[in-house]
Symmetry: C2
Subunit: 229 residues, 2 copies
C-alpha cells in the first residue's frame, strides 16, 4: 500500500472511473431501501444497480459474477446477519467496500463488523447526503464513520492497551521473559544476554515470584495476558 502516501484524488485516479460507481443496497426495510435507492440513483456518477432485502440474495448475485464497488449493508437483517455477510462479501470480492448501516451503534456490533472487514459504519439517522458521501469516501480508501462510532473504535483500541500492571518486572527480567517466550532455554538466554547461567536462573526466580507462577509456561502465559512486552 505505498499509494497510501498520496492523496485521495491520486487513489481514485488509478481506478477506472469510466463507468459510474456501482452501489448495492442490502436493507430489509422496504421504505428505507427504496428511498435510498432512488436517492443514490439520482446522484451523478453513482449507479445503484441492485438492491436486496436480505444478505442471501446479495451473496447469490455476487456469486453470479456481479461485482459492486460499494455495498451499503444493514447490520440487522432477517436470516444471515449483516456481520456474517461482510466477511463473505469480502471473501468473494475483496475489492468491494462494505459500509455498514444500522440504527444502533453498540460497541459489540461495531467491533465485529470491523473485524469482519467492513470499511465504514454509519447510522441510519445520518443525513442522506452523508451516506452518499460515504460511498465516495469508502472508495477513496477512507473509512466513513459517525463521530460517535469513531470514538467507540478509539475507545476499544485504548482499552486494548491495559493499565499496565507492571508487576514490578525490571528491564532485565523483561528481556529474559521475552527470550523465554521465544522458547530459548536458560543457557541460550544467558548467551544472548551475555550473562551467566546462574544470573538468568536468578532472574527467572524473581519473575516467578513477581508473577505468582512457578513454571516457564505459566510465566509466558501471564506475560502475554498482561502484555508485559
Amino acid at each position: 500500500m505505498e499509494t497510501a502516501t498520496k492523496s485521495g484524488k491520486a487513489i481514485t485516479s488509478i481506478l477506472p472511473a469510466r463507468h459510474p460507481v456501482t452501489v448495492w443496497l442490502v436493507e430489509d426495510n422496504h421504505i428505507f431501501r427504496h428511498t435510498m435507492a432512488r436517492v443514490l440513483g439520482g446522484v451523478e456518477g453513482v449507479e445503484c444497480s441492485q438492491h436486496f432485502s436480505n444478505a442471501e440474495d446479495a451473496l447469490d448475485a455476487l456469486l453470479g459474477g456481479a461485482v459492486p464497488d460499494v455495498v451499503l449493508l444493514d447490520v440487522e437483517l432477517p436470516g444471515k446477519s449483516g456481520i456474517e455477510a461482510v466477511s463473505q462479501i469480502k471473501a468473494i470480492s475483496p475489492a468491494t467496500r462494505v459500509v455498514m448501516l444500522t440504527v444502533f451503534d453498540d460497541h459489540e456490533k461495531i467491533f465485529r463488523s470491523i473485524c469482519a472487514g467492513a470499511s465504514g459504519y454509519l447510522l441510519k439517522t445520518s443525513p442522506v447526503e452523508r451516506i452518499v458521501e460515504s460511498v465516495h469516501e469508502a472508495l477513496a480508501g477512507g473509512a466513513p464513520m459517525t463521530p460517535r462510532v469513531a470514538k467507540s473504535v478509539l475507545d476499544m483500541f485504548a482499552r486494548l492497551s491495559r493499565p499496565k500492571h507492571d508487576y514490578g518486572v525490571t528491564r532485565q527480567e523483561q528481556k529474559v521473559l521475552e527470550l523465554m517466550a521465544q522458547g530459548l532455554i536458560k543457557k541460550e538466554i544467558a548467551d544472548r544476554l551475555a550473562l551467566s547461567y546462574h544470573t538468568v536462573d536468578t532472574h527467572l526466580r524473581n519473575i516467578y515470584a513477581k508473577l505468582h507462577v512457578n513454571t516457564r509456561a505459566g510465566a509466558v502465559a501471564k506475560a502475554f495476558q498482561e502484555r508485559l512486552f
Copy 2:
C-alpha cells in the same frame, strides 16, 4: 461534512458553555503555532488561551492547575514526544481531549497515540477549518480523524482478528495447551483430563511438532500469538 461546524450549537448546548472552549496548542514550529493560535483565537466560542513549543512546558502549566478543554498536540516534538505527552496529559486531566496533529500518518504513531489516549488524529495538511471543527468534534465526544487515518485504524483492528492459522491442532491438544498455559505440569494435566501421564506427553510432542517448537514456553507463546484459544 459541515455537520460538526454548524451543529456546534446543539453540541455546546448540553455543556455548560458559560465560558468559551479553552484550547491549548503544543507545536514546535513557530509559524504554524502562531498561525493556528490566531485562527483559533478568532473563532467564536473558542479561546486559545495558551500555546507551547514543547510538551514539557504544557505539562508544567497543566500541573500548575490550568485545565484546557482541548489540546492540539504535535506528534513530533523536541524533547518529550507528543505520544508520551498524551498519556501524561490524560493522567493529569482525564477530561481534557487531546487531538494529535502531525505531518505523517504512519500506522505506528497512530496506534500508539490512540493507545495513549488521544481522541483524534489529524494531519497538518488538513484545512484549517477542519482543525477548528475538530475541537468541537472532540469535545462533543467524537473522534476527529482524516479519512485515511480512520482507515488505518480500521485496518489495524481487522488485523487483530485472527487469520486463524489452525496448525492442525486437535481438540484434545488444545485442552492440553490451555492447561499448560496455566502452568500445570504433565502429571497435573493428566489428572485434569483423566488421562495417563504418557498420553499427555504424546499430545505435547504432537503440539510441539505442529507449532514447530520444542519447549512448553515456546508452545504457549505461539498459542497466544496465533490465538489458538
